[in-house]
Symmetry: C2
Subunit: 165 residues, 2 copies
DNA sequence: CCTTGACTGTTATGATATAACGTTAGATAG
DNA sequence: CTATCTAACGTTATATCATAACAGTCAAGG
């Protein structure tokens, strides 16, 4: 993985590119104010980069872009900004890809599920209400106090199913 | 993470240590025969190590033990054995911990959910039937062909809830 | 002004994972 | 039984992902 413009060429879902980007940034801004945290330039720019990427980006991909724009050049710069975004519900970490993606629905304080396409690496954020309910039930059954969860599904997105020859 | 004997001191669940280990190994053996794959010495020993560990182990932890016993000393040795076990349903990869754990119920061709305790790092394999049903529904809703999923919940196991002072 | 605390950037290093290649050993065809 | 083929093993080397620790910056409040 030495040169790629991001994992996820297509996006099968709702947050298609730049059109919603401004709205999401505004929501992030508002949320920051609510929570009394600061959406500083690096953090904001990092979120923009994720929004533009339109797919999951590795921390080093983000870093590369930040560096070009005059922000810091070393890994912690990217990791700190990304962790901030994740902690504040503005982005998600996709562990299977060692990557990050902007949250498509920052308004809801949801627990999301991700659908990762094996063919094109696109990541779709899916409604996870039912999944979380079921998970809560399973946790309750064994007396586990659930805090948060990572739900990542792997398969083929609609677009790539057609392309399967 | 330079010296530890494994992540997961306690185990809140069913596969408590060595008692079931033999049964699980037997199942693995049978499964290997079924699938026409070979449970070679390294692979078998790797599974035993996971079973003994009674919690998730990192690849390098496994490697260390294999090396001591005269198997290879380099990372691919561990990764290959672990990947084999995962691919054949004999172990699971816990991405949040960058670790692996023996499958507690190798007979069923299930998709498992994991409950990871933040306090003691124990990993419990939970029944995930309902969760998977819900996930399938969510995937269907957007036309995503789901192959497999990673479901990892973070919280406090029953034992550690009491210990919260 | 001066302290304080959050933020940024850096150096350095740690931790996880895989590519590529030669060798070994188990299976199979002759 | 032997030649051959392939899966598996072990190695070297390197890629990739992530964090610890510390120094400089800057805005807010005393």
């Amino acid at each position: 993985m030495t040169e790629h413009a991001g994992r996820g060429g297509f996006c099968c879902s709702s947050h298609s590119g730049t059109e919603n980007a401004q709205a999401i940034l505004d929501l992030a801004e508002a949320r920051a104010k609510d929570r009394n945290v600061r959406l500083t330039p690096v953090r904001r720019r990092t979120l923009e980069i994720l929004l533009q990427a339109h797919g999951a980006l590795g921390a080093y991909d983000v870093l590369e872009r930040l560096a070009v724009e005059g922000f810091g050049t070393q890994p912690p710069v990217a990791y700190r900004a990304l962790n901030f975004l994740v902690e504040n519900g503005m982005a998600h970490r996709i562990r299977r890809l060692n990557a990050f993606t902007a949250c498509a629905h920052p308004a809801e304080d949801h627990r999301a599920a991700f659908l990762i396409c094996e063919a094109c690496d696109s990541v779709t954020e899916a409604a996870a209400g039912g999944v979380n309910a079921a998970l809560n039930a399973a946790a309750d059954a064994v007396g586990f106090a659930l805090d948060r969860a990572t739900i990542e599904a792997v398969g083929l997105c609609r677009a790539c199913q057609g392309a399967q020859a």
